[in-house]
C-alpha cells in the first residue's frame, strides 16, 4: 500500500509534533541546569537559554557551604529508603492473603480497604490522630499514614491473581506452606510489578512535601523538598548564604541561580535512576490500567 503524499505529510507532522512534545519536556530542565551553572552577569542579563554562559559552579558551592542542603538530602534519602522498605513490606503482606480464596473475611477486608480510597477522615482528623500517638516530628508520621497505597495494593493483587493455579496446586502437592509459597514462588515471579511499585513509592517519598510540612517542626529534620521550597519562596536564605560565605569578596548570586542549583540537586538522583526503571513501570502501569 503506497502512502500518498497527504499521508506522508501527515506522518511528518506527527513526528514533528511528537519531537516537539519530547523537547518541551526536556528543555526546561536543560534551561535550569544552564542557569545554575552560568555566570552572574549572564543570568542577570537574561541571556541564558539552553547552555551555560560563563560556566561557573559558584551557585553549587554556595549552596553546599551556606545552606543545610546536604543534611536535607540525607534526610530525604533516609525517608525514601526506609519508606520504600516499609511500604513494600506491608503492601506484599496485604496483597497476598487477599488472593487466597480460602482467606476468611476476604470480601469484607477487600471492601474495607477499597472504601478508604473513596472516603477519608480528612486532613485534620488524620493530623490529630498522629498527634495523639505522639508521632509528630518523627519520621514515622511520614511513613505510617501513607504506608500502603490502595492503588498499588490492587495492582499487586491483580498480578498475583494471574499466577496460574497449576503452580499453586503443584506447590501444594509438594507440601509447601503459605510463607514458603509466597517467598519462594510468588515474589520471584512478581519482580516487574514489585520494581514498579517500589519506584512509585520511592518517588512519592522523595518528593514528599505536604506531609513533611505538616508533621515535622524541626528544621534539622526537613527533607530536601521542604528546604528547596523555602529557598524558592523566600529571599532570606540568600542573604544568610551571603553572610555565611565569609570570604572577602561578596559572591553575589541572583535568587534564580541558587534556586536552579537546588532544583538540579533535587532532581539528580531521580534522573540517575529513571532510565533504568522506565521500561519496567510502563508494564506495571498497564497492568494497573487493565484493572481500572
Amino acid at each position: 500500500m503506497k502512502p500518498s503524499l497527504g499521508e506522508k505529510i501527515y506522518l511528518l507532522a506527527v513526528y514533528m509534533v511528537l519531537a516537539g512534545a519530547g523537547l518541551l519536556c526536556l528543555l526546561p530542565l536543560v534551561h535550569i541546569a544552564s542557569v545554575s551553572s552560568s555566570s552572574l552577569q549572564a543570568v542577570a542579563s537574561g541571556h541564558v537559554t539552553f547552555y551555560p554562559i560563563g560556566f561557573s559552579l559558584d551557585a553549587y558551592k554556595q549552596l553546599l557551604e551556606g545552606t543545610p542542603i546536604m543534611r536535607s538530602f540525607w534526610n530525604s534519602m533516609q525517608i525514601t529508603v526506609l519508606g520504600v522498605i516499609f511500604s513494600m513490606l506491608f503492601t506484599i503482606l496485604a496483597a497476598y492473603p487477599l488472593t487466597r480464596s480460602y482467606f476468611i473475611g476476604r470480601r469484607t477486608y477487600t471492601f474495607g480497604i477499597v472504601f478508604t480510597m473513596l472516603f477519608g477522615g480528612g486532613l485534620i482528623p488524620t493530623y490529630l490522630t498522629i498527634r495523639s500517638l505522639e508521632l509528630i516530628n518523627t519520621y514515622w508520621s511520614l511513613w505510617l499514614p501513607g504506608l500502603v497505597s490502595v492503588f498499588n495494593l490492587l495492582v499487586l493483587r491483580t498480578f498475583m491473581e494471574n499466577i496460574p493455579t497449576e503452580v499453586d496446586e503443584a506447590s501444594r502437592i509438594d507440601g509447601c506452606g503459605e510463607w514458603r509459597y509466597l517467598l519462594r514462588i510468588v515474589l520471584p515471579l512478581s519482580t516487574p510489578v514489585l520494581a514498579t511499585l517500589a519506584l512509585f513509592y520511592g518517588v512519592g517519598y522523595w518528593n514528599a512535601f505536604f506531609n513533611v510540612l505538616m508533621f515535622i517542626n524541626e528544621p534539622a529534620k526537613f527533607n530536601l523538598a521542604v528546604l528547596v521550597q523555602q529557598m524558592i519562596q523566600s529571599q532570606t536564605m540568600l542573604s544568610q548564604m551571603n553572610a555565611a560565605s565569609g570570604s572577602s569578596e561578596q559572591i553575589m548570586l541572583t535568587p534564580e541561580m541558587v534556586n536552579a542549583a537546588a532544583i538540579i540537586i533535587m532532581v539528580l538522583p531521580m534522573m540517575a535512576v529513571y532510565p533504568f526503571l522506565q521500561r519496567h513501570f510502563v508494564k506495571g502501569v498497564m497492568i494497573g490500567a487493565v484493572k481500572g
Binding site: L11, V14, G122, V148
Partner: protein, 297 residues
C-alpha cells in the same frame, strides 16, 4: 473445617499488621471526623470535646470566604480537567502512529519524565522561567512587546500557567492508559478500513477513536469524581498573595486556617464536606460507568 482455620493462620499472621494499619490510620481518622460536629480543644481531645451539632457548618457556609474557596476549587479543577483532557489522548494516538521504535522510545522516555518531578521542582522551573527580571519567557515577551508582564501576578495568566503546568506534568504519563487501550483495538479493523480505501486520518476517526471511546468515558468520569480534590502541592507552590482571590482552594485553606491557625473543628467540617461530596461524585460516576459496561468493581 479445622483445616480451613489452620490454613488461615499464616495468612492472618501476614494480614494482622495490615488490619491494624488500616484501622489506626484510615478508620480512626474517619471517626475522628466527628469533631466537625464538636468544638475541639486540646484538653478534651477528640472524644470529649463539647458537642455543637451543625454550628460549625452553619458558620462555614455563611462566610463568603468559604464559598469563594469552594468556587476556586471547582474552577481550577474543572479547567484543569477539561483543558487537559484531550492531550494524553492525542499524544497516545500519535505515538501509536510512529513506526520507528527508537523514536517512540525516546519520546516516551522524555514525556513520562515530568510526572516524576515533585511540584517543588516544576514550580521552581515555572517561577524561574516566568520571573519578571531574568526569566526566559519574560525575555522573549519583552523582545516581542517591549515591556515585561507579571505573569504570575495577574489572575488570568496565573490560571493559564497553573493549568498548563499541570498538563505539562501529567499528560505524558496519563497517555500510558490510552496507549494500553490502543493496543487492544483489533488490528483487522484497520486492515479492513484501509482495504475499503480509508486514509490514515479516516482510520483514526472511524476505528481508533471508537475503540478508545470506552476508556475515554471511563477516564473522564473518574476525573469528574475527583473534581473536589485540587492537590495541595501545586497550588501552594504557585500561589502568591496577589492572586489569592482565585488561588485559595479547599486544601490550602484547611492547611492555613486549620493547621496553622488551629481552627480544628471548623476545617474538619470543611474537610468532611469535601470528602462526602467526593464520595457521592465517585459513586455517581461509577454508576454511570456501569451503565456503559465498565465499573470500578
Amino acid at each position: 473445617m479445622i483445616r480451613l482455620w489452620r490454613r488461615n493462620i499464616p495468612l492472618y499472621m501476614m494480614f494482622v499488621p495490615v488490619i491494624i494499619f488500616f484501622i489506626l490510620f484510615k478508620y480512626v481518622p474517619m471517626f475522628g471526623a466527628v469533631i466537625a460536629f464538636k468544638k475541639y480543644n486540646f484538653a478534651d481531645g477528640m472524644l470529649h470535646s463539647p458537642w455543637v451539632g451543625w454550628d460549625n457548618f452553619k458558620l462555614l457556609f455563611s462566610t463568603p470566604t468559604t464559598l469563594q474557596i469552594i468556587r476556586n476549587t471547582l474552577v481550577i479543577s474543572l479547567l484543569s480537567i477539561f483543558v487537559g483532557f484531550p492531550f494524553p489522548i492525542i499524544l497516545a494516538i500519535m505515538l501509536n502512529e510512529v513506526r520507528r521504535m527508537w523514536f517512540k522510545k525516546v519520546v516516551q522516555t522524555l514525556v513520562y519524565l515530568p510526572h516524576f518531578f515533585s511540584w517543588i521542582i516544576v514550580s521552581g522551573i515555572v517561577i524561574t522561567v516566568f520571573s519578571q527580571q531574568n526569566g526566559l519567557v519574560s525575555g522573549i515577551w519583552e523582545s516581542l512587546t517591549g515591556s515585561t508582564y507579571p505573569f504570575l501576578y495577574r489572575e488570568g495568566s496565573w490560571l493559564a500557567i497553573f493549568v498548563s503546568s499541570g498538563i505539562w506534568k501529567e499528560a505524558g504519563f496519563s497517555a500510558i492508559i490510552y496507549l494500553a487501550a490502543l493496543t487492544s483495538i483489533d488490528t483487522t479493523l484497520y486492515e479492513a478500513a484501509s482495504m475499503d480505501g480509508a486514509s490514515r486520518w479516516r482510520q483514526i476517526w472511524n476505528v481508533t477513536l471508537p475503540g478508545l471511546r470506552l476508556t475515554i468515558v471511563l477516564m473522564f468520569i473518574l476525573s469528574m469524581g475527583r473534581v473536589m480534590e485540587v492537590g495541595f502541592d501545586q497550588v501552594y507552590m504557585l500561589q502568591n498573595s496577589t492572586v489569592s482571590n482565585i488561588s485559595e482552594v479547599i486544601s490550602t485553606y484547611i492547611y492555613k486556617i486549620g493547621l496553622m491557625g488551629s481552627q480544628f473543628s471548623l476545617t474538619a467540617a470543611l474537610g468532611l464536606f469535601e470528602s462526602l461530596i467526593s464520595l457521592i461524585l465517585v459513586l455517581i460516576a461509577n454508576a454511570i460507568a456501569r451503565k456503559y459496561g465498565n465499573g470500578l468493581w
